[in-house]
């Protein structure tokens, strides 16, 4: 398996699977007569696969907003209840849900939360967009998990046994990494560059051709959420922080303390939801 072949495979991807409990929760919600698109959006925006699917649709040529829409709340205004309902009813799920799938789900959600907090503090105009970038930054891992399950298993195993980062093993075995794979898919799905670059460069944010600030926030949040120990990012270690990225978004000690306090509070709120997902799984 090499890069060219992976690119070819990516072209054929119609949809990615997600966790069965989320889909069944949404299906239950859809059956409720009083449900609104906004309420469905609140659940969808916790799941990286459904979120990226929604963004794929709204940025598609048919809906006609190419590379324009980057958040779930804006997507639901444009797509409307019926389209969202159909997306839910027809979404695909992992046939066998593994513990690492839930771990990655929590990691992504936690990273999104951290991104939102930091973006708000930095006075970024649309913090929801930055949390979306954080939510879907590991989309490439879902691609590997569902499209190349054997390679993925081997990568996870080797990373664990040799004490290497997943992206190092990916590079060695398939000649590319999950960042790049996620980036290619996001671009193919017509997502805005404000999301594509942070996904592609979340391990080397200063190399991003544009939107370096968003990439830096995603990079830092990815590390922060692993250090806190929420979810499982797939690596045995907490990766090193990129110096340039840190210079870009630097927080003082007291600011950092506030960020962590706010994050802790939000993560406790999220736990009810993630627990529900785990139990049903």
């Amino acid at each position: 398996m090499d890069k060219a072949e992976i690119k070819k495979r990516l072209k054929e991807i119609q949809s990615l699977p997600t966790l069965p409990p989320i889909v069944s929760k949404l299906n239950e919600m859809v059956a409720d007569e009083d449900i609104t698109a906004v309420k469905l959006g609140k659940v969808i925006e916790k799941d990286q696969v459904l979120t990226s699917k929604l963004l794929k649709m709204v940025n598609s040529s048919f809906f006609g907003f190419p590379q324009r829409i980057s958040t779930v709340s804006n997507a639901i205004v444009l797509l409307g209840f019926n389209v969202i309902k159909t997306l839910i009813v027809t979404s695909s799920i992992f046939e066998v849900m593994q513990a690492s799938d839930v771990g990655l789900f929590e990691h992504s959600l936690g990273c999104a939360t951290a991104c939102g907090i930091i973006a708000k503090r930095r006075g970024i105009k649309n913090p929801e967009e930055v949390s979306t970038a954080g939510l879907i930054h590991d989309l490439g891992k879902i691609v590997l998990r569902s499209e190349l399950p054997e390679e993925y298993e081997a990568i996870v195993k080797e990373a664990k046994e040799k004490g290497l980062y997943m992206r190092e093993v990916e590079q060695e075995r398939i000649g590319t990494g999950h960042g790049e794979i996620g980036g290619i898919l996001a671009r193919q799905w017509n997502l805005p560059e404000r999301l594509v670059f942070p996904i592609e460069y979340h391990h080397k944010p200063e190399k991003a051709p544009d939107f370096k600030e968003i990439a830096a926030i995603v990079h830092f949040s990815d590390i922060l959420i692993r250090a806190i120990g929420f979810g499982y990012g797939g690596d045995p270690w907490v990766p090193a922080l990129d110096h340039g990225a840190w210079e870009r978004i630097k927080l003082t000690k007291s600011q950092m303390r506030e960020v962590i306090a706010e994050l802790d509070e939000k993560l406790v709120e999220l736990q009810d939801f993630t627990l529900e997902i785990k139990i049903e799984g």
Binding site: Q14, S15, T36, A37, K53, K56, M57, S60, S61, F62, F63, G64, F65, R68, I69, S73, N74, V77, L78, L79, G80, F81, N82, V83, K85, T86, L87, V89, T90, S91, S92
Partner: protein, 319 residues
């Protein structure tokens, strides 16, 4: 030449049928998995859908009603593939809101003919706006006149985009089209969410839209439309214009002109039963209201609050 999407079990997807269709210049995309097919249909709709009855988990019905309830896709013809037994026992057509059926034993020639007929028929009835796929003038007129004739207490709402011309001049037509599509989507979704099948949305053309909803829902619909528009419009503007708060452009004499940013105006004409009997009267009231709402700053709606006293002599049904 049509783009045909086939969602059937493999038995109906015989090689010779596909070859025949492709030989006629059609493009055929075949999917067994309904979920995958639907996603493809929604993101890039074909000209016609052929779907087999009795797919797993009742998804065939789900898919058909989802497409037919989608204002922008409702006109895409759907042909249902049924068995001889279905034909003998007949089906519940309120459940299967399809345009035509074909037996799974039909010949290739018959299939081809039905496809061509369905497409021709869909062209005949469509006065839809090509940009938003929403019903156009004659459908709007018919729908409002129907509502007046049936004496339903509805409000007819005229929407237009303010300062659309400077937007177009500055960003170009293709981005202007995006804004029009955005407004169309917002209207459809808000009206559908509040009123379901009791609401109607049409596209007069350019930056003008019309919708009508039950009178008591008009205000809430207008508020949501304006709220959603205000949330989305910044995404369609460049950072520098947003920061400045206005557009600048230069006229032929080289003078620098300032225009306010793009906003939305809605003029609401409540049509109590018997207040208006003809579409033209509604339109003329709307024209007066439009002037008023356009003169207000920002995105706004304006409801005609003048009281209506039914004249008993004219109409017996109003007393």
């Amino acid at each position: 030449m049509a783009r045909i999407s086939l969602v059937t079990s493999s038995s109906f997807n015989r090689q010779d049928e596909r070859l025949c269709l492709e030989a006629k210049g059609h493009t055929v995309s075949f999917k067994k998995d309904v979920a995958k097919a639907l996603e493809a249909i929604l993101s890039d709709p074909p000209d016609i859908l052929i779907i087999e009855k009795g797919l797993e988990r009742n998804l065939d019905r789900e898919v058909i009603s989802a497409l037919k309830n989608n204002l922008q896709l409702a006109l895409m013809p759907i042909i249902l593939v049924v068995s001889e037994r279905d034909i003998a026992t007949s089906l519940d057509w309120d459940c299967y809101t399809v345009d035509d059926i074909i037996s799974n034993r039909a010949t290739v020639e018959e299939l081809l003919t039905r496809i061509e007929l369905s497409i021709a028929r869909s062209h005949r009835v469509a006065d839809n706006n090509p940009l938003t796929k929403l019903p156009g003038n004659s459908s709007i007129l018919k729908s409002i006149q129907n509502m007046l004739d049936q004496k339903k207490p509805h409000a007819v709402c005229y929407v237009d985009i303010d300062n659309f011309k400077p937007y177009n001049d500055k960003y170009g037509f293709s981005r202007g089209d995006e804004v029009i599509r955005m407004v169309g989507r917002i209207l459809v979704n808000v009206v559908q969410e509040h009123c379901g099948s009791e609401g109607f949305v049409g596209h007069v053309g350019g930056d003008d839209f019309v919708f009508h909803v039950p009178i008591e829902k008009a205000e809430a619909v207008c508020q949501d439309v304006i709220k959603n528009f205000s949330a989305l419009i910044p995404l369609f503007l460049d950072e520098e214009d947003l920061e400045a708060g206005y557009f600048t452009s230069t006229d032929r004499q080289g003078n620098v002109l300032k225009f306010p940013l793009t906003t939305l105006s809605i003029a609401v004409v409540p049509c109590e039963p018997c207040r208006y009997s003809h579409y033209g009267e509604v339109a003329s009231t709307a024209a007066k209201l439009k002037k008023k709402v356009k003169s207000m700053e920002g995105s706004n709606y304006f409801i005609d609050r003048r009281k209506f006293k039914p004249a008993k002599k004219q109409c017996g049904s109003c007393s």
